[in-house]
């Protein structure tokens, strides 16, 4: 699936999107896999309460399923308007 990062999450991880092969079934399990990779992921995901997640472009929570998802995005709380 494609994993996308926005705003300071993108800056900490150092790229806007990447292709991830995973067996993770939930957002939380995917986050744990990413955190284990490298420090920059650990830095970006250290406080999940500061993050929001969208699965296939719909806002959801960290316990949501990602089975069959094409796109998972992580970003800080939004500041539109």
């Amino acid at each position: 699936m494609d994993v996308l990062y926005f705003a300071w999450v993108r800056e900490r991880i150092g790229l806007p999107r990447e292709r991830v092969e995973t067996e993770a079934q939930t957002v939380r399990a995917l986050v744990e896999e990413l955190r284990a990779r490298e420090d920059r992921y650990e830095m970006a995901f250290s406080d999940l309460s500061a993050l929001r997640v969208a699965v296939d472009q719909r806002l959801t929570d960290f316990d949501a399923s990602i089975a069959g998802a094409r796109e998972v995005a992580f970003f800080p709380p939004m500041t539109g308007g």
């Binding site: 926005f6 300071w8 970003f75 709380p77 500041t79 539109g80 308007g81």
Partner: protein, 146 residues
């Protein structure tokens, strides 16, 4: 198309006039315009990042929800992204309804939702560097009234 996500600036008067024409017979048209402001002083420019695809989808859903809740006869959202100088137009919402109360409420509802549910992120660039604008608790709280 009633949702525009664009980098280019736009003419507020022209948009209002065009929308009012489509809303003939509605009785009430309300518009809100957001402008980049220099809160702390020293703002050089603002950068707005967004999530192409999800942005249009989220704004489209918020718009439909507003139309249903407040019996709007029309609603339009224009939101910019990219680099904006101080005092530039950032975004605009327009609503039309038979009566003014619904048009006002519809516009407020759209604003409250797009503040914290549309995937935009603002970054302020000053002489001291660049900083992401933190989401405000009161913007999240504002959703509870709907």
């Amino acid at each position: 198309m009633e949702v525009w996500v664009q980098e280019a600036t736009f003419d507020v008067g022209q948009e209002l006039n065009a929308f009012a024409k489509t809303a003939e017979g509605s009785g009430a048209v309300v518009s809100f315009t957001g402008i980049t402001r220099d809160i702390a002083g020293g703002l050089r420019h603002m950068e707005i990042e967004h999530y192409p695809g999800m942005t249009e989808r989220a704004l489209g859903n918020i718009r439909l929800e507003a139309i249903t809740r407040f019996d709007l006869t029309g609603a339009r959202i224009i939101h910019r992204y990219g680099r904006l100088a101080p005092n530039e137009v950032i975004m605009m919402v327009l609503t039309a309804a038979p009566h003014r109360a619904d048009a006002f409420k519809g516009a407020e509802f759209l604003m409250d939702y797009l503040k914290s549910r549309a995937p935009f992120w603002k970054r302020e660039v000053t002489a001291d560097g660049a900083e992401w604008v933190a989401a405000k608790d009161e913007d999240e709280d504002a959703l509870k009234r709907w």
